[in-house]
C-alpha cells in the first residue's frame, strides 16, 4: 500500500480507482441493511416482508450480518498472507467498522424492538443470560477498536500499541461465535459453520507466524 502512494501525484488514476473501489465496497456493505428496510416496507405474511415475528427476524438478520462482517474483516489478513492480494488490505478498516455498525444495529433492535426499552429486563438479561452476557462482552470490546480506527488514533497510539489493542479481535470473534452457538436451541449446523470459519481464519495467522521466518515462502 505504502509503496504505491510514494509515487504521489504521478498516480492520479490509481488514486481515483482506489477511491472508487472504496465507494463501491461501502455501498455493497450497505446492501443487507437496504434489503431489510425494503422488506419492512413490502407486504408479506404477518404484515410485512419481515414475517410474522419481525422483531426476531430483524434481530437475527442484523446479528447474522454483524458476525459475517466480523469474519470478513478477519479474513483480510489471511487473504493477503495466502494469496498476496495486497489490495484487499485497503478495505480492512471499513469492513471492521461495518461489523461494528451491524452489531450496533443488532443491539439497537434488541433494546428498541425486542425489549421496548424495559431497562430492568435488559439488565437482567445481560447479567443472567450467558449468551447475552457473551454478546455484550463482544460488543463492549469492539467499542475501543471502532474508536481507534482512524489514522489519527493509529498515530497517537503508535503502531505497536495499536496492533496489540486490536488483537482483542481474536477474542471477540470466538466469543461472537459462542454467542450464536449458545443462542440456538439444540445442536445446530449454522453456528458451527461460523465457528469453523473463525477457527480457520485464526489458525492461518498462527500457522503463518510460526512459518514466516526470514527467507521462508
Amino acid at each position: 500500500m505504502t509503496q504505491k502512494s510514494v509515487s504521489g501525484a504521478a498516480s492520479r488514476p490509481g488514486n481515483f480507482r482506489r477511491a472508487a473501489s472504496k465507494v463501491a465496497v461501502f455501498i455493497i456493505c450497505l446492501m443487507p441493511l437496504a434489503w431489510v428496510i425494503w422488506l419492512a416496507f413490502t407486504p408479506g405474511v404477518g404484515g410485512s416482508g419481515l414475517g410474522p415475528n419481525p422483531q426476531e427476524f430483524l434481530n437475527r438478520f442484523l446479528g447474522d450480518w454483524a458476525l459475517r462482517f466480523l469474519l470478513i474483516a478477519l479474513a483480510v489478513t489471511p487473504i493477503r498472507m495466502l494469496l498476496r492480494w495486497n489490495w484487499v488490505f485497503r478495505f480492512r478498516r471499513m469492513l471492521g467498522l461495518y461489523a461494528f455498525f451491524y452489531v450496533s444495529l443488532h443491539l439497537t433492535s434488541y433494546v428498541v424492538l425486542d425489549k421496548q426499552f424495559f431497562w430492568d429486563e435488559i439488565w437482567s438479561d445481560i447479567v443472567k443470560r450467558t449468551f447475552i452476557t457473551v454478546g455484550m462482552a463482544s460488543f463492549v470490546m469492539l467499542i475501543p477498536l471502532a474508536v481507534t480506527s482512524t489514522a489519527g488514533m493509529v498515530k497517537r497510539l503508535g503502531a505497536n500499541r495499536w496492533r496489540r489493542l486490536h488483537q482483542i479481535v481474536y477474542l471477540i470473534a470466538p466469543l461472537a461465535c459462542l454467542h450464536f452457538f449458545m443462542m440456538r436451541k439444540g445442536v445446530q449446523l449454522e453456528p458451527m459453520i461460523y465457528a469453523g470459519i473463525a477457527t480457520v481464519l485464526l489458525m492461518i495467522r498462527i500457522w503463518h507466524r510460526f512459518r514466516s521466518r526470514p527467507g521462508a515462502g
Partner: protein
C-alpha cells in the same frame, strides 16, 4: 420445441430415411408430442393441485366447544391462519420457522396408523380413522405459548384425549402416557440432521392426559391439519409450552414410570418434564414473563404471560403442593 427435440435426437443427419417413412414418423412424433404435452400438463396440474386440495379443501365437520371459545380468552384475536401455518417449530422438517411449511409440501400423512401399547386393555395398531371416527370432532380456541416467548391464538379441531384414553382402557399400572413422533428421514428431511435426538418423544402424567383441556388434534381453522403443523394427528396441551404438544404421533404408550422427553434429553437444565407455562420460572436463556403475539406487528407491545397460560383455574389443582420452580 417439445416436438422438435425428440426428432432431432432420434434422426441423425447420417440416417437415410425414405420420405414417406419420414412423413409418417413426423406424424407419429406429433402424436407423441401431443400426448406428451398432455401428460406433462396433466402431471403438473396434478402436482399443483394436490397440496392445495390436501390442505385447503378439506373442511372438517366439527361442533364448537362452548367452554373453549375465543370470547373465553379475554381480549384475544385469532392468529392469522397463514401465520399459524408458516411460522412454527417442527424440527423434523428443519430448524427455521419457515422450514416446516417449505419442507413438508410433499409429505403424505395418510394412510397413518398409531400403535397403542403398554399398560392398556386394548393395545394394537389403530388406523387413523379407527382412532378418530368414534369421537365427535370439536373446535376449541386455545392460546398457544411457545417456550421461545411467542404465542398465538389458534382454533384447533380435535377430540378429547381423555375420551380416547378411556376407550383404550389403561390398566392401574398406567401412571403416564408416552407419545412418539414418526421417524422417517425420507419423509421428514429434517431428521437427516440431529439438532435433537430422534424420534421425538413426549409424555404426560395420567391426570394431565385425562384433563378435559388435553386435545388430540387433527385440524385447525376448521380444516385438516396442515403437514407443517403436525399432520395428521398431534397433541395440544395448552397450559404447557408448545414443544409438549407433540406432532405426527405414531405411538401412544401407557407406562408406569415418567417417560423420557426429547427436549429434556437434549438439555435437562432448560427443559423439564412438566414444562408448564410459568411467567415466574425463566428459561435459563430468556425471561418467560412476557410473550410476543406473532403477527401483531413490529411495534406491538408484548403481553404478560399468564400462569399456566391462563388455564390456572382449570389445571392449577393438578400441581397443588408441587414446587413449580423445581418441577419446571
Amino acid at each position: 420445441m417439445l416436438i422438435r427435440k425428440p426428432r432431432s435426437n432420434e434422426i441423425r443427419p447420417s440416417e437415410i430415411t425414405p420420405r414417406h417413412v419420414f412423413e409418417n414418423r413426423r406424424q407419429f412424433m406429433t402424436g407423441v408430442g401431443m400426448v406428451g404435452l398432455g401428460a406433462i400438463a396433466g402431471g403438473s396440474l396434478g402436482g399443483l393441485l394436490a397440496p392445495e386440495t390436501a390442505s385447503a379443501a378439506t373442511t372438517l365437520a366439527t361442533i364448537k366447544n362452548d367452554k373453549y371459545t375465543l370470547a373465553g380468552l379475554g381480549e384475544a384475536a385469532p392468529t392469522d391462519k397463514v401465520v399459524a401455518s408458516t411460522y412454527n417449530n417442527f424440527y423434523e422438517f428443519g430448524t427455521g420457522k419457515g422450514d416446516p411449511a417449505d419442507n413438508s409440501k410433499d409429505f403424505q400423512p395418510l394412510p397413518w396408523t398409531v400403535t397403542v401399547d403398554g399398560a392398556v386393555e386394548n393395545p394394537g395398531t389403530y388406523d387413523f380413522d379407527d382412532l378418530i371416527n368414534p369421537h365427535q370432532l370439536e373446535e376449541r380456541v386455545y392460546r398457544f405459548r411457545c417456550v421461545e416467548a411467542w404465542s398465538m391464538v389458534v382454533p384447533w379441531v380435535g377430540i378429547s384425549l381423555g375420551e380416547v384414553i378411556r376407550r383404550l382402557g389403561p390398566t392401574s399400572n398406567a401412571k403416564y402416557v408416552a407419545f412418539e413422533t414418526l421417524y422417517d428421514p425420507e419423509r421428514m428431511p429434517g431428521q437427516n440432521r440431529s439438532p435433537i435426538p430422534w424420534p421425538y418423544v413426549e409424555g404426560l402424567r395420567m391426570d394431565e392426559a385425562m384433563h378435559d383441556l388435553s386435545l388430540l388434534t387433527v385440524g385447525m381453522y376448521g380444516e385438516v391439519l396442515p403437514n407443517q403443523n403436525g399432520a395428521p394427528i398431534r397433541l395440544i396441551v395448552p397450559w404447557k409450552y408448545g414443544f409438549k404438544s407433540i406432532k405426527s404421533i405414531v405411538r401412544i404408550s401407557f407406562v408406569e414410570d415418567q417417560p423420557p422427553c426429547t427436549w429434556n434429553i437434549a438439555n435437562a437444565r432448560e427443559y423439564g418434564f412438566y414444562s408448564n407455562v410459568n411467567p415466574e420460572v425463566d428459561h435459563p436463556r430468556w425471561s418467560q414473563a412476557k410473550e410476543r403475539i406473532v403477527g401483531t406487528g413490529i411495534f406491538a407491545e408484548r403481553r404478560k404471560t399468564e400462569m399456566l397460560n391462563g388455564y390456572a383455574d382449570q389445571v392449577g389443582s393438578l400441581y397443588d403442593g408441587m414446587d413449580m420452580s423445581k418441577y419446571y
